[in-house]
């Protein structure tokens, strides 16, 4: 449904906002776009929606190139920007009627508007001026305008900002339901939201894609996943000394937890090593039963932070390299 090929965007010829970004999103997929502030998420979405042009590369929506035929491509997109684009001097119904006409929709108007308002739960404020609505309601009106015309692709930039916990759950459910028949791109800082709604996650940093995986496969991209939590029954100091002697273990620290008579330890292996076999052998030789073992830092938040840190380091090196080569010249 969406093909992005070698997208490059530079602002004013300066730094890259997007640097050779390519990805594909299939029909009916819900994809989360993650990244720190200034990573290039909004730029990517603005290009996909036709708000910005590209420096090079192409973006195709439903087979239509957004740069070559923007009007046709835009007909397939519903977009909720970071700040809902609402007119304070209109009532909710007036505003949605305006959007309906703006998008040149052909459905039975009043029925369609009623359906959309019902879906985002703004029917009870439909006659109120938007300027008098709370932030949460304005946000929902913003979501409603994106749904007008039943577009094939819906792009949400921070859709749950300003909503209360109950409303957040409702909107997440709505997005999940939309995903059954629409292609949805969701940009957010709330990792739990991505985890609960998205099937696939694209992480962008410094204008580059640093991960593009199914949510459950994301841990795989962290190659240096070497932190483990062990619960081992045995004398605490002896176990500690034994673990420290395992080849590849860079540090062992006791944790303030116990599982019955077992002590818990955080074992960290050197980069690129897997210490689990060595730990097993030491425990078996000494007769210390391992009651449980778990990888630490495999939740989305930790993965996200580690991926971004790694990308920051690589970006720093790239910059340093450029500086050095410039200096050499």
């Amino acid at each position: 449904m969406i093909q992005v090929e070698h997208l490059v965007k530079r602002y004013g010829g300066a730094a890259f906002a997007l640097d050779d970004v390519s990805f594909e999103i299939g029909e009916g997929e819900i994809v989360g776009l993650l990244g720190p502030n200034g990573a290039g998420k909004s730029t990517a979405m603005n290009i996909l929606t036709g708000y910005l042009s590209t420096t090079s590369g192409r973006a195709v929506i439903g087979g239509v190139d957004i740069l070559e035929n923007p009007i046709e491509a835009k007909k397939m997109i519903g977009y909720l920007p970071e700040q809902p684009p609402v007119y304070p001097d209109m009532t909710v119904t007036e505003y949605l009627r305006f959007v309906y006409e703006l998008k040149g929709c052909k459905f039975p108007r009043e029925q369609h508007l009623a359906d959309v308002m019902e879906a985002v739960k703004v029917t009870d404020v439909s006659r109120r001026l938007i300027r008098n609505l709370s932030k949460g309601y304005r946000q929902r009106v913003g979501i409603a305008q994106a749904l007008i015309g039943d577009p094939k692709v819906i792009i949400f930039d921070e859709p749950t900002v300003g909503l209360d916990p109950k409303q957040i759950l409702e909107i997440r459910n709505l997005i999940r339901n939309l995903g059954r028949s629409h292609t949805v791109i969701l940009s957010t800082h709330i990792l739990a939201e991505v985890q609960s709604v998205c099937e696939r996650i694209i992480i962008i940093n410094h204008g580059r894609i640093i991960a593009n995986e199914r949510a459950e496969d994301l841990a795989r991209v962290i190659e240096d996943n070497t932190h483990f939590r062990y619960a081992i029954a045995g004398d605490k100091n002896a176990v500690l000394a034994g673990l420290r002697g395992v080849q590849g273990v860079s540090s062992v620290s006791p944790m303030h937890e116990r599982e019955g008579d077992a002590f818990c330890f955080l074992v960290e292996g050197a980069r690129g090593t897997d210490v689990r076999r060595g730990v097993f052998r030491v425990c078996a030789e000494n007769g210390w039963p391992i009651l449980s073992i778990g990888a630490v830092g495999n939740d989305l938040e930790s993965i996200f932070i580690r991926l971004v840190d790694r990308s920051d380091r690589e970006n720093g090196k790239r910059k340093d390299g450029k500086d050095i080569s410039r200096a050499e010249r």
Binding site: G12, Y51, S53, P70, P81, P85, P88, E101, L102, Q145
Partner: protein, 234 residues
């Protein structure tokens, strides 16, 4: 395009600016009619419309100042730019909406001459000529106003900027005869908005003036389009 046009009219008729514009317009227009026509004891509309024109140089920028700058401030510009509507259609819709409000006001004010016609001889050709002249100059000022409004999200800056440009045209017209260098005088009189509608006010149709005003409108509307297009490529 029709949706943006309707929305624009709606915003004029539901905002304080719209009503302030209309109220001020009718108050000044009534005053000028009494002063230039009734007190002067003449049915010649040229004076009335010429004074109105000066008044418009200040009033029309108030009408256009929020056209694009408010869209930018409210971030609704993103809605328009990501909707299946082309930028020229968006600019045209805004221009036509402002022209509609302006034309309606002018048409209503001109009714004074209809009333006057019962008591004096009013030459219809002169009224129509003046009407066309004021609509053309007004259209040019609106196009300039839209262009300046597209440059900033500050409405006040948009209004002051437009008044500044219009006043510059005024000054150019007024000081032109004092410039000793012929070619400068020639160029400046060529671009002056306010030195061309004379024939219309006397009831004569001036094709070159018509073409000139339409060109000014088209140039500034094209520049407005370029502002948005350039922002996409920034």
């Amino acid at each position: 395009m029709l949706a943006i046009y309707k929305r624009e009219l709606h915003s004029y008729l539901t905002s304080a600016i719209g009503y302030a514009f209309i109220a001020l317009f009718f108050a000044v227009s009534g005053g000028l009619f009494v002063y230039t026509t009734l007190y002067a004891g003449t049915a010649n509309p040229a004076n009335y419309y010429t004074y109105m024109l000066v008044f418009f140089a200040i009033l029309l920028p108030i009408l256009t100042m929020k056209s694009f700058s408010e869209e930018r401030k409210l971030r609704t510009e993103q809605l328009l730019m990501t909707a299946p509507v082309s930028i020229p259609a968006m600019v045209a819709a805004k221009f036509l909406a402002a022209m509609t409000v302006f034309s309606a006001c002018i048409a209503l004010c001109s009714c004074s001459f209809l009333l006057l016609a019962r008591y004096a001889t009013v030459r219809a050709a002169m009224v129509f000529g003046n009407l066309i002249a004021i609509l053309l100059v007004g259209g040019a000022i609106i196009a300039i106003g839209l262009f300046v409004s597209a440059l900033t999200e500050n409405q006040l800056a948009a209004a002051i900027g437009t008044v500044g440009i219009v006043l510059l045209f005024f000054v150019v017209s007024a000081l032109n005869s004092f410039i000793p260098v012929y070619w400068i005088r020639f160029v400046l009189s060529g671009v002056s908005i306010f030195s061309r509608f004379g024939n219309f006010t006397q009831g004569a149709f001036d094709f070159s003036a018509l073409l000139y005003y339409l060109s000014v409108m088209v140039v500034f509307l094209l520049l407005t389009w370029r502002v948005f297009d350039r922002r996409r490529y920034r």
